[in-house]
C-alpha cells in the first residue's frame, strides 16, 4: 500500500481468491508487477489480499491462466464512496446545497455599522448609504469598491469632513468624522447694560459701549450702566454693549431656625429577603423570621430574566431592609442662629451668581419663641448687577 491517502483516493478492494494455487498466483502477480498487500489465509484456508482498483482489472489474465476466480469482500476509498453517494441523490444534493448556500450567504452584506461620534443623525447616514446601495442584505458584488463608495458618500454628506467605508467579510463599517464648525453665536442686537437692582458700584469693566457710571456711584434699578449709544446727538450709532459691572447689593433676610432637629440615622442592623417574581406577583423564598423594625428603610432590586432582548415575566427580587432610628437633637439658641445664618448664606450665594461675595452681614432683629429662633439679617453682597436691555429703533432717532 503506497501512501495510505493515495490508496484512499484511488480506491482499493479486499479480495478473496477462490480455486487455483495460491503460490502460483502470487508469483504470477508479482512478475506482472501487480502490487498486493496483507496477503493472509483465512481460518478456512482461503487466500485474501488487498489490491488497488486499477490493478484489480489487470489481474484478470493472471487469474485465467491460474484457473481461479476472485470475490471482492470489501471496498475502500473515494471512488466507492462517490458511487455510494451518487445513489443517495438527496444527500449529495443537500451537501451541494449547503455549500452553495454558504457561499451565497457569505456574499451578502449582513450588517452596516456606523461609527464616529458625529452630529449627523445616524438615520440620515443610513439613508444616504442606502442611496449608494449600502444596506443590510445587499449583495456585496453589487457594491463598488470601498474607496469610491466613501468618496460618493462624502459628496452626499457635505457636513462630514471625512467618510470612510470599510468592508470586512459580511459587515460594512461607515466612519463619519464631522468637520468642526465655529460655535454658533446668536447675533445680538444693539443694547444697553442696565442695573438689575439698587446698588453701589464697586467695579466697571466695559468691553464695548460707553460706561455711564463710576466706582462708588449709587444706581437705582433700571439705570443705564454701559450705554450702547455712541456719538453725539447728530451722529450716533447703536452698538452691542458688553462688559461687567460689580456692585454692592443689600439683601434683607428673615430666618426661622428651629431649636430642635430630627435626623433619621441607620443603626446598621439590616435584613435581606428574597422573592421570586412571576407575572406581577412575588413569592418570598428567603429571609423569613427576621426582626420587625420599628422604623426602616427598604431598598429593592429587581432582576428580571431576559431572553436575548426580551424581558420574561419572571425573575427575582431582593429586599434589603435597614433599620432606622430617629434622633432628635436639641440646639441652644446660639447654635440654631448659626445654623440659620449658614443656610441663608448658602442660599444667597446660589442666588447671586458665580462671582458673588458676601462682604458683610448685620443682624437687625433676634427673637426666640415657640421653639424657634427668628432672625432678620441684612447682608451686603458684591455681585454682578448688569442686565441687558435692547435699544429700540425709535430711541436711536
Amino acid at each position: 500500500m503506497k501512501g495510505t491517502w493515495v490508496a484512499m483516493l484511488r480506491g482499493y478492494v479486499g479480495v478473496k481468491l477462490i480455486g487455483g494455487e495460491a503460490e502460483a498466483f502470487l508469483n504470477a502477480a508479482t512478475s506482472e508487477r501487480i502490487g498486493l498487500w496483507n496477503i493472509a489465509f483465512t481460518p478456512r484456508g482461503e487466500l485474501t489480499f488487498g489490491i488497488m482498483v486499477s490493478d484489480f482489472f489487470r489481474l484478470r489474465p493472471v487469474l485465467r491462466r491460474n484457473g481461479s476466480r476472485t470475490r471482492i469482500i470489501s471496498r475502500h476509498g473515494l471512488p466507492f464512496r462517490m458511487a455510494r453517494l451518487s445513489r443517495r441523490k438527496t444527500f449529495a444534493g443537500g451537501m451541494l446545497a449547503f455549500v452553495a448556500a454558504l457561499f451565497i450567504l457569505s456574499t451578502m452584506v449582513w450588517e452596516v455599522k456606523i461609527e464616529g461620534n458625529s452630529a449627523i443623525p445616524e438615520e440620515k447616514i443610513r439613508q444616504m448609504a442606502r442611496a449608494e446601495g449600502i444596506y443590510a442584505y445587499q449583495w456585496s458584488f453589487r457594491l463598488q469598491n470601498a474607496a469610491s463608495l466613501s468618496q460618493r458618500l462624502a459628496l452626499r454628506l457635505p457636513e462630514a469632513a471625512w467618510v470612510g467605508v470599510d468592508k470586512t467579510g459580511t459587515s460594512i463599517k461607515i466612519t463619519v468624522i464631522d468637520s468642526t464648525k465655529p460655535e454658533n453665536k446668536a447675533p445680538a442686537s444693539p443694547r444697553h447694560l442696565v442695573a438689575k437692582t439698587d446698588a453701589v458700584i464697586t467695579r466697571v469693566i466695559a468691553e464695548n459701549g460707553r460706561p455711564k457710571v463710576e466706582r462708588n456711584d449709587r444706581v437705582r434699578k433700571g439705570d443705564i450702566l454701559i450705554s450702547g449709544l455712541l456719538g453725539d446727538e447728530k451722529h450716533s450709532k447703536a452698538v452691542v454693549s458688553k462688559g461687567k459691572v460689580m456692585g454692592l447689593v443689600w439683601h434683607e433676610f428673615r430666618i426661622e431656625s428651629p431649636l430642635s432637629t430630627k435626623t433619621r440615622n441607620l443603626t446598621g442592623a439590616s435584613q435581606d429577603r428574597g422573592y421570586l417574581i412571576i407575572g406581577n406577583r412575588a413569592l418570598q423564598i428567603s429571609g423569613y423570621g427576621g426582626h420587625d423594625f420599628a422604623d426602616s428603610q427598604t431598598r429593592t432590586t429587581v432582576n428580571r430574566a431576559q431572553l436575548w432582548n426580551r424581558w420574561l415575566p419572571f425573575g427575582t427580587m431582593k429586599e434589603h431592609e435597614l433599620e432606622v432610628v430617629e434622633i432628635e437633637k436639641k440646639l441652644t439658641p446660639a447654635e440654631a442662629k448659626e445654623a440659620g445664618l449658614k443656610q441663608a448664606r448658602a442660599e444667597l450665594l446660589a442666588k447671586g451668581g458665580q462671582d458673588a461675595i458676601i462682604k458683610a452681614e448685620k443682624i437687625l432683629h433676634e427673637q426666640t419663641e415657640n421653639g424657634k429662633v427668628l432672625l432678620t439679617v441684612l447682608f451686603e453682597m458684591e455681585q454682578s448687577i448688569e442686565v441687558e436691555r435692547p435699544i429700540l429703533e425709535a430711541s436711536i432717532e
Partner: protein, 98 residues
C-alpha cells in the same frame, strides 16, 4: 563464462571492500524481533501457508516458519512478512538437487 564473471565480481568485491549483497545479488534478510521479516532479492514464492513461507532464491530456498503469517507487501524483489516468526532457515541448493 558466467563463472568467470561471477568470480571476477567476487574478487572485485573483496578488493574494493564492498558489501557482498550489492555486488552479488544475494538475498538480504532483515528481521525485526520475531515480528517482521523483510527479504530482498527473492525469486518467487514456492509455498505459502499461515505456518510456513518458502521463498525461492538464486541458489537455494529460504524458509520462514511461524504462526499467522501475513505477507504485508510483495513486490518483484521484496517480500515483507509479518506474524509470529519462529524460524528462518536457509537451504542452499548448490550443484546437488534436493
Amino acid at each position: 563464462m558466467m563463472r568467470v564473471s561471477r568470480k571476477l565480481r567476487k574478487w572485485t568485491a573483496t578488493i574494493l571492500d564492498l558489501p557482498q549483497d550489492v555486488v552479488l545479488d544475494l538475498p538480504r534478510i532483515t528481521m525485526i524481533g520475531g515480528l517482521q521479516v523483510t527479504v530482498e532479492n527473492h525469486r518467487g514464492i514456492l509455498h505459502f501457508s499461515p505456518e510456513l513461507l518458502r521463498l525461492a532464491m538464486d541458489n537455494g530456498e529460504l524458509e520462514v516458519t511461524g504462526q499467522d503469517l501475513i505477507i504485508r507487501n510483495i513486490g518483484a524483489e521484496e517480500v515483507f512478512v509479518e506474524g509470529k516468526i519462529m524460524g528462518v532457515r536457509l537451504q542452499p541448493r548448490g550443484k546437488k538437487p534436493q
